[in-house]
Symmetry: C2
Subunit: 129 residues, 2 copies
């Protein structure tokens, strides 16, 4: 999962950060769904991720269309219920995504460690844009 | 940097994932800039992050307006050059962001470990939506 090139071109392009999964709200949804193989009810997911009905529906549609999440309809008594869970392929792809995220975190921590102590005057020969 | 609530409401809302920094291309830009306290030339940044002139300019403007990045203008001989570097505040805020990202990765790995072995029939009482 490391990028093809390490030292130069594209070193920080992180191609594996699929935008469908990387979006902040969807990242939260996928992480919560990853913890429950049996799925999570729409109402609980709303609470866990602090989303409105409309936003949750919209993000679930994106995830479903990408083949990451499956949606099931049922009833509790007469009350309709919606259950959401990761597909098997969704779980695999999410793990791949997370491994790229791990790399980003490692890069960022390495980077800030390396640069931490330096004192920084205005760069020589440059003026503020 | 952990979210306020651990077990329930908002557990997976990851409020610290600032959308300005979380966007995929900008995350790459910030990570590369974090590694060079003295800044990186526009042309090198383009290469490292595999962005076009237009995209790089657009993302740098967003980062500059958010106070994360500073832009300096200079010359090499007669050739104009642009240098980009993290502000001190930008470095701090990026580190905060990265610590939330670490939490997401830890949550996701915990989640997938916990749920890995389960066999999953269709959920009882539900039908596909």
């Amino acid at each position: 999962m490391r990028p093809k090139s390490h030292g130069g071109s594209g070193r920080f392009s992180y191609d594996g950060l699929d935008r469908v999964m990387h979006e902040k709200a969807r990242l939260g949804l996928l992480t919560s769904l990853a913890s429950k193989a049996d799925g999570i009810l729409f109402t609980d997911l709303k609470e866990l991720c602090q989303l409105t009905d409309g936003n949750l529906s919209r993000h679930l549609t994106v995830l479903q269309e990408a083949g990451l999440v499956e949606i099931w309809k049922g009833f509790k008594g007469r009350k309709p219920q919606t259950l959401c869970r990761l597909t098997d392929d969704g779980r695999r792809r999410f793990l791949d995504y997370v491994s790229v995220l791990e790399l980003v975190v490692a890069d960022a921590l390495d980077a800030t460690k390396a640069a931490r102590q330096k004192k920084r005057p205005a760069p020589e020969g440059f003026s503020p844009a």
